[in-house]
Symmetry: C2
Subunit: 708 residues, 2 copies
């Protein structure tokens, strides 16, 4: 576990100042209404902007693809006659490599956090860990431009996963109402400038992102709830749901405009799985579903293992940024060439029925036919998934699908973790839809042909593969149910996800969790490991504890802030730093009164709230939370606060600022109970006391995460 | 607030005995696996049995209705010729009154808790309050038979709401693995015999009930989460989801068999809203949706107000059980007659296109026509809702719909609260669908006819009306989204619910909450009222506190248990009942060590765990949680435990049994923070301490509920 990951201060510091302002607000009802209205407005904005962003990504990919295609088309037409087909394909390849290079350069040099899907980073954020730069505007721009380049450049990636991260950044930005990079400041949202409010809005943003990506607002809400895993907050969940709905609605409007028939709202998300209305299944087919889930779990575990080894390799040898860019370009080249491998080995030509797709390519087929194996590659991944679900039987040969599934498996495995924004959902769905369709075709050959629906097995294969790789359960089931708009299909999807997760978990973790652990992030799971049942608070806590007295000298505070890197300090009575007190063989540190945070101490030092100041009572009386919030999130570090030696002898009274309702645990409390409290309340510190309410230790995230 | 409502002991008593068994389990991994498998199996059973029960209700209603119809049919055929039409209709009416009387007698005399929809009772249970008899087998049987009688008897009720209560009872019964009424006992589930596990399984049962009723598994999950409102428990939510899925699947299979095409699974729930696939809407129509939401809120508030007054009237004057039965029969008579009022005033005859419905009646129409206003009444409510949604324009005149909506409004208002199981969802949806269709028809008359879809406005009207009456938000939106299988329609539904709830909340509460408050149940909402912000723990707590010492005399324990009705007692050190200790003007009651429950003390007294017993150490060493669980939930009351006067001088050591991780609050903690903790952790007691960890007060549900 790396030491430099800090936690969010999700817990509200219930100090006298905060209580005073809450009483004031509750006495003036209009202030509460105004705060509620502003919260709903922010959630509305988050939904709208996320929907627009998704539309921008979709439009960008489409424009880039058509530019690419049209610049190659004349060459194609000429070269079909002149037998110089290598020429347009070379141009195509170079175009791809060039696009991808732009995305890779942006990511590697401007904002490396934008690489990958962003789901691990948002999981960490909702878990309560701050991943540096994860919700900055720069990250958003890099992500959007990068994913357009990656998808248009033909990499084995999807554009849906990055929407979740984008939604979260949008939420963080909108809710703060200001930007240091862009240098503006709406004062309207100043009371939302705290980790608590920001994390709540980021939940809404992540849900809006999921909703825009898949057309699945309820799935988005459940994703936020799953990853936040805190206590149920009715008003918050309702607002998150509203945000998701507005997001999918906005994307709907935007895409209607783009596609040319404004106001006819029929595009729910970035991906459209097609109509699953007429898909039915028999009860005994559920046993085949279980088997497919197991296959998905095994292949998913293999995928995760290979990707894990690959990531370790990259962390050791591909550290330099230009090397990362080169690697991305190599993968783009391979991806481009792989199509030819597929076409060469599997001469899968089908008669040209309706020339709906402009990407149909003839290749080695006769006139009046097109190569369906080439189509698998030259279509966008989303269209390919839809084709694999819904094409009539006989469109794809088993050999084609096998080569495609296998090749795409390794390609996607290689691609995830590159230094370019990339979604993982679509590649996994593709692989699974391909082998799922194989299962359907093989079952059809057994002679009961008419009863086995290819759509059904494609879908189950897709969900098994995706579940085997990402190991998500609740939100993924709901996302797939909403994306297919078919509730009865939810049960086979759920069964395949249950089995895939269970089988895969016997080998390794989900891919997002693997990457998170490789980065050393102290993530807390949903439950503590069973073997930790015999631990108590006393065995996990930190001891000794650095505490402050209620009336502490400025010099001591400054020295502690400078020498130690802790962010929470218990405030005690009856404590003398020079005379340790031992009770029952354990050193105690005074009677617990509350907890104070580093950020609060820095504010107090900056504003010089010294007891010796003659106006101190008036100053404290006129303090507002806004004074504290204004410096959020970048508080003046202790090194930049200058104190004279006279000031160091002054004292500060910490009582108005300490968190009176801070959570304490007895030393005998079990690890399980403190883990549950810590996770569900989103705490950052827990003070351990003995039965006399004397501080004996402190527990933070890193102490708990050591055992997960 | 009535004093006799007790809370569930949802908090796990983390005592030494429990910790010992958890360590033991965690060291033997197979024991944990076995517990997990059994939990999943129980959830599977809950889903299956709930689905079957829903099928039984559906089948029962259908059979009863066809018996009713066929016994009248010959008379109808004869009387159309002989002009004695009053004869079959009188028989119909008497049949209805008879059926309804059976249901009312069962409910009033056997199990009054089964009256109404059951949703208020389940809300209370998930909130943590025990409503007596709410999850007994007798209640289930009364509910199922009663709702069949009520629906088949033509009352203005639905059969969906009671499914939620039924699912909860099934869950409570299955998870305990035994029944005192039916006298059997599967020992396999003995470690689930605690309030904690039972409440978790009841959440799954309620979700399965919602899922079977509406074909909305995700809506069911969100209903359980909303009402439970506790911290997020990933494994539990996943199991609840599985339960819901299995429930809707089972109902699907059962109904496929009943309808004659087994294994073709296409019936998702008890109610089928029809296909909303082609329904689209324009952006500006959302403003009309807002207006309709406001109308729904106003009419819903009126509905609730009238029903509230009616319920108060019933509580005063309709107390005797035979009076209740008579009232139900009167309502059934009125309901039967109302159809004729509608038909008489609105001679709405339509040409007989396809004779799909066997209930079409001719009445005063010419041959070759049928009375569409009669059809509104003689169809089942579910079929009527579907017709209102999807019938082509022109099927119903505005006058017909107006009379129907108004009449049904008052009929449904009168019907809810009768002494018979009755669902409220369908009547509300009916009223709303009717006036929503009126709105659609009126808009169509403005000249932009083709653009305003009647289905859309019917649906929005239905959701507005339902939202205005029940004021549910998240789960209701998802239920309607799943029932219509159309994600983009979720936004208008959501907007109508938001507006209806906001408008309605200006006048009164939702109907379930009104009934809950009339019963005096100490329900805790999702948030504390704003005016309670200046309360602290000290102002709400009970003072003085009855405490027990760690080594307490049996006589004192027995006396306290007999004289006081409390269920939780703080266990302290350094306390002398005869010499009160006063600190800072406030009496303290010793240093807090943990909390012990009445049930635990009764078990200890029954097993005679006295310190003076020479074998005491062996006995305590061989104790298991199972010994405590076996008596759950009906512990031997203190009056039935006999103690000799010698035994009263003995002592008991409470240390192995006290909850070491009990939640304490400082006296200065704000009401808001203790409310949040109490609600989200499902607590029953919170001990208030001063900064020396000395007990000064105790907070329970009734202390908090006083301020909501
Ligand atoms: N006031 C303190 N006195 C002594 N040890 C502390 C104190 N605060 C934290 N620790 C310990 O220091 C170690 C590192 O924690 P760290 O200082 O990073 O905590 P933090 O920054 O307050 O919380 P987090 O890193 O989770 O945001 C942990 O083991 C923790 O228990
Ligand atoms: N041990 C105690 N000593 C003194 N007062 C108590 C004690 N326990 C509860 N009370 C108070 O008695 C009143 C009634 O509570 P009651 O005895 O019904 O609590 P309970 O049965 O333990 O909890 P609940 O009724 O919520 O299930 C409350 O105001 C409560 O604060
Ligand atoms: Mg730290
Ligand atoms: Mg009580």
């Amino acid at each position: 576990l790396r030491a430099d990951f800090e936690s969010l201060d999700y817990e509200v510091s219930d100090n006298l100042l905060y209580q005073k302002e809450e009483k004031d607000k509750s006495s003036k009802r209009w202030k509460l209404y105004w705060r509620g209205i502003r919260r709903w407005f922010i959630c509305f904005l988050i939904g709208v902007i996320t929907g627009i962003t998704a539309g921008i990504i979709d439009l960008g990919v489409e424009k880039m693809s058509s530019v690419k295609f049209s610049s190659v088309k004349e060459l194609v037409d000429r070269c079909v006659v002149d037998y110089c087909m290598y020429s347009p394909h070379l141009i195509w390849l170079l175009f791809n490599i060039g696009l991808v290079m732009v995305g890779a350069v942006l990511t590697a040099y401007i904002e490396p956090v934008a690489a990958g899907s962003g789901i691990p980073q948002i999981k960490c954020y909702l878990n309560g860990v701050v991943v540096p730069h994860v919700v900055r505007i720069k990250t958003l721009v890099t992500k959007v431009v990068g994913v357009i380049c990656a998808v248009a450049g033909g990499l084995a990636v999807g554009k849906e996963g990055p929407m979740i991260h984008s939604g979260a950044v949008i939420a963080a930005g909108v809710s703060q109402g200001r930007s240091t990079s862009l240098n503006f400041d709406f004062n309207m949202f100043h009371d939302f400038r705290s980790d608590t409010e920001k994390r709540d809005f980021v939940s809404a943003g992540a849900a809006a992102g999921v909703s825009a990506a898949f057309g699945a607002p309820v799935g988005g809400v459940l994703f936020s709830l799953e990853e936040g895993a805190s206590f149920w907050n009715q008003a918050l969940v309702w607002r998150i749901f509203f945000s998701s709905m507005v997001s999918t609605m906005t994307l709907n409007i935007v895409q209607s405009y783009i596609k040319g028939h404004p106001w006819e709202l029929s595009y729910a998300g970035l991906i459209n799985f097609g109509t699953f209305d007429s898909v039915q299944y028999k009860f005994y087919e559920l046993f085949i579903v279980i088997a497919m889930g197991a296959i998905g779990g095994l292949t998913g575990a293999a995928f995760n293992h290979i990707n894990y080894k690959l990531t370790i390799f990259r962390m050791k040898y591909v550290q330099r940024r230009w090397l990362q860019v080169i690697e991305v370009m190599i993968v783009a080249a391979y991806t481009g060439c792989f199509a030819y491998v597929l076409i060469f080995f599997s001469n899968d030509c089908k008669p040209l029925r309706e020339n709906r797709e402009s990407m149909l390519v003839q290749f080695f087929c006769n006139d009046g036919e097109y190569s369906s194996s080439a189509r698998l590659f030259f279509d966008t991944p989303e269209a390919t998934v839809k084709n694999l679900f819904h094409s009539p039987p006989g469109t794809y040969q088993v050999l084609t699908l096998t080569i495609f599934a296998t090749g795409y498996f390794f390609l996607a495995c290689w691609t995830y973790g590159l230094s370019v924004p990339s979604g993982l959902f679509i590649p996994c769905l593709l692989i699974g839809a391909a082998w799922g369709r194989i299962v359907g075709v093989l079952l059809g050959m057994t002679g009961h042909g008419a009863t086995f629906g290819l759509s059904f097995y494609s879908l189950v294969g897709a969900s098994s593969q995706l579940g085997g790789i990402v190991r998500m359960t609740i939100s993924l089931t709901v996302i797939l149910m909403e994306a297919t708009a078919n509730v009865p299909l939810g049960l086979p999807v759920m069964i395949s996800l249950i089995v895939a997760k269970w089988v895969g978990d016997q080998f390794n973790e989900g891919i997002y969790d693997l990457h998170i652990h490789l980065q050393g992030v102290p993530l807390l799971g949903w439950e503590p490991l069973p073997m930790s049942a015999n631990l108590s608070a006393k065995s996990v806590m930190s001891h000794p504890v650095t505490v402050l007295r209620m009336h502490e000298s400025v010099g001591r505070i400054a020295r502690i802030l400078k020498e130690e890197s802790h962010n929470g300090f218990p405030v005690v009575d009856e404590y003398d730093p020079h005379t340790p007190k031992i009770v029952d063989g354990c050193e105690t540190f005074g009677t617990f009164r509350g907890l104070v945070l580093r950020s609060q101490l820095l504010m107090m030092l900056k504003k010089k709230l010294f007891q010796e100041n003659p106006d101190i009572n008036e100053i404290i009386g006129s303090l507002k939370m806004a004074h504290f919030n204004d410096c959020y999130p970048r508080y003046t570090p202790i090194q930049r606060i200058s104190l004279t030696s006279e000031e160091r002898n002054y004292h500060m009274n910490l009582e108005p600022f300490i968190n009176q309702s801070h959570y304490v645990v007895l030393e005998s409390a079990s690890y399980t109970s403190i883990f549950k409290k810590f996770r569900s309340l989103g705490l950052r510190h827990m003070v351990v006391i003995n039965f006399r309410n004397e501080v004996i230790g402190i527990v933070t995230r890193k102490d708990l995460a050591r055992y997960t």
